[in-house]
Subunit: 364 residues, 2 copies
Amino acid sequence: MSQPYDRVFNFSAGPCTLPVEVLEEAKEDLLNYKGAGMSVMEMSHRSKPFEKILAEAEADLRTLLGIPESYKVLFLQGGASLQFSMAPWNFLGAGQTADYVVTGAWGEKAVEAAAMVGSVKVAYDGKAGNYNQAPDFSSIPLSDNPAYVHFTSNETIQGVEFLSDPAIAPPLVCDMSSDILSRPVDISKYAMIYAGAQKNMGPAGATVVILSDDFMAKSPAKMHPILDYKLHAKNSSMYNTPPCWTIYMCGLVYKYLLKKGGVAASQRRNTEKANTIYQAIDSSDGFYKGHAVCGSRSIMNVTFTLPSEELTSAFVKEAEGRKLDGLKGHRSVGGIRASIYNAFPLEGCQVLAEFMGQFAAKNG
Amino acid sequence: MSQPYDRVFNFSAGPCTLPVEVLEEAKEDLLNYKGAGMSVMEMSHRSKPFEKILAEAEADLRTLLGIPESYKVLFLQGGASLQFSMAPWNFLGAGQTADYVVTGAWGEKAVEAAAMVGSVKVAYDGKAGNYNQAPDFSSIPLSDNPAYVHFTSNETIQGVEFLSDPAIAPPLVCDMSSDILSRPVDISKYAMIYAGAQKNMGPAGATVVILSDDFMAKSPAKMHPILDYKLHAKNSSMYNTPPCWTIYMCGLVYKYLLKKGGVAASQRRNTEKANTIYQAIDSSDGFYKGHAVCGSRSIMNVTFTLPSEELTSAFVKEAEGRKLDGLKGHRSVGGIRASIYNAFPLEGCQVLAEFMGQFAAKNG
């Protein structure tokens, strides 16, 4: 089965597949963006065309996620990894404790960075079960009056996802890097959401931060400029030169998603895509074993193991021959990881599921 | 005079003009990079093709600048603005003082960030002269044994540049954002150089840090992970997902510069370009007044004023009609700023100089 431009099905965990028509538009305008006489890569961030690109990207993201006016939307640099430090720097004061819910590798990294800033309580840690589930939030014992509660809505390595928005009283901070825009979200339940661009939004190099005005007001008056959410907000993400091209690409993806029916339609497509692969796991008579428990299965990263390392290697190799690329799982879980973010096509999941059936029949 | 793809002469201070043939190559490979079946924007940073892109970018930059093996080369995010904080965080310990040489607006910002970390001495401040010169380094009174001495080799707003490498005993840290690769540099005179990509290297979104092993060893053992040069170096710029597309574009620019004869040839081209405009200033019988004093005139940003604001506005407007774009100066200096980084063509400087002569003759 041949894809346009002889492209492969790219199951990479991120950076990852972008919509073909978005790439086509970027290519079309690459040397001269809509008559501006230059590429978006060459454009002053203070120019009218780029100011419009940034404003439209923000407006479209607000529409997609229903972001209230009382929230700021920022496009920053440094990835989620910088947010691991920036969030506690801004919001974990002396004498306070922040609670962390850890369901995988990225949550662990967030704890590591926050613990260098202040007092951290790990309110939930799924490590004993090798991070195979997203717990019921209401069952997690939280601190009295924590500065905030942090969690990772989707863990890419383990393929474990919270499929709905937790409802808790303390300010909720969420690393939504790998499932933002994959489903509708009730923003009002969150004090802050951050997300690296390189899964569901665009190329690597930008981080979206969605931040309630009330929460932002708790940040100290005097902060290091580049690490100060208030300063970035005051300057509409232009305190320093923003990653213009990445923001432009995110903006094209937002317009594409709006045209495709918004995040409710994303959720339907993503659920169908994930179920196609999960069904191949569940109907394999135990040849494939899913890593995440049912109810915590990610619709973004489907993780499963095979009976042996030899079979896993053979699976990855044969899959590559069918242009199914990037399926090798992370070493901490082993097996296979099929990352199927928003822009990944259903067809690729069907080809994988069919191959899984054939491979199990031959080797089971 | 018509340019390919109906492009304008883009005098923007950054982001700014990139070489047309670099943009053409990026366009050609946009949907399928050299048979990988995907765009560089969609590629795992752990994939073989991207590892090769990163390794070649580093190797080519080392060749261009003659960077010794005893220096690390890092590709980070956050712009020079993050380096304003990262440098003192890593190298300005308790009980130490760092000296700052301030020749313009970016130096001021570097001081502001460093002063939040530790003790800073402004060893030179050109503010009284509205930052119109780069002083003789040997005349600057430095602290006894400073942690480092920081300066900005080219100030984009004022158009003031150090045209050779200072030779001092203490560790020298340089913000080379706007003139890196514009001329040969003796790296061994520096402990650390940092530079945002968006002037002479590529699109906005990456920062190159060149750091001597000896200097890096002075960084504290325990640092915030994302702000720790040692950790980034240990992980070869892949501690977290790097800005892959921006690095790719920088890599294409490095190959282009090598093909064009390296940085010695850059310097010859840039000097000729700048002189073309400075001559138009100096032969205008005082109609145009250069901001920087002779000997400190930048070969990257040529700044000058006209007799009145009305004439300045008329100049900018008429220039735009001739496809000379982005000439309006920064409000702190006023007048005109012609930013003519590496990729800006000589032809554009000639067109501007010709226009300057005509405009002065008509309005002088």
